[in-house]
């Protein structure tokens, strides 16, 4: 059964510092993981993804790390900006459907 967990409901960081958002998954099959960002009353937007054949993917200020032995992935945002304040969801894509975690609310303070 596909499960994705984001155990930290919220995170607060200072502008310019690193934000680290974490996610754990349970599926042992080949997976493709994605991170989404969501503002209130809007649909989520895609940020970055990683295939389970890789352990790192980088796109500008965003880097996703995958630790397959621990079934854990993390999203690093460096440097963090106030506009990054939003809810971040990780998702596990398997068999055509995406299963999302509960989300982590990131607040970046100026």
């Amino acid at each position: 059964d596909q499960q994705v967990k984001q155990n930290s409901p919220s995170l607060s960081v200072q502008e310019g510092r690193i934000s680290i958002l974490n996610c754990d998954y349970t599926n042992s099959m080949f997976d493709y993981f994605l991170w989404y960002k969501k503002y209130p009353a809007e649909g989520p937007t895609f940020l970055i993804s990683i295939s389970s054949i890789k352990d790192k993917n980088e796109d500008g200020r965003f880097t996703v790390f995958l630790n397959k032995s621990a079934k854990h992935l993390s999203l690093h945002i460096v440097p963090s900006q106030p506009g990054d304040s939003a809810v971040y969801f990780c998702a596990d894509s398997n068999t055509g459907k995406l299963i999302f975690g509960q989300g982590t609310t990131l607040q970046v303070k100026p």
Partner: protein
């Protein structure tokens, strides 16, 4: 380019009333289509997904149903709304062999 349209943006309905939310996708064919719900303070829960016309998979037992009468049209319905049906409903689509999901702008449903 592909776009997804979802309406209405907000909806207030009394308990026991019917519901119909519509979603259409433009600029692509044979997409996978999805309905998600975000309840207050909670994550994104997959409700239904469809890989083709008339093909609906339900993820959780509930008071809702979905239909796909056309290739790029996905409808979420209920015959009688419950208070617990309140939430933010999101339609989404993706290409069959690609992982990225594209979301609509959502419908905030309040059942009173």
């Amino acid at each position: 380019s592909q776009t997804i349209h979802q309406w209405p943006a907000t909806l207030v309905q009394p308990v026991g009333s019917p519901l119909s939310l519509e979603c259409t996708v433009e600029g692509t064919s044979n997409p996978n289509l999805y309905w998600y719900r975000q309840a207050a303070g909670r994550g994104l829960q997959l409700l239904f997904y469809s890989v083709g016309i008339g093909q609906i998979s339900s993820e959780v037992p509930q008071n809702l149903s979905a239909s796909r009468p056309q290739d790029r049209q996905f409808i979420l319905s209920s015959k009688k709304l419950l208070l617990s049906d309140s939430g933010f409903y999101l339609c989404a689509w993706k290409k069959r062999r690609e992982g990225e999901l594209f979301f609509g702008s959502g419908t905030q449903l309040s059942v009173l």
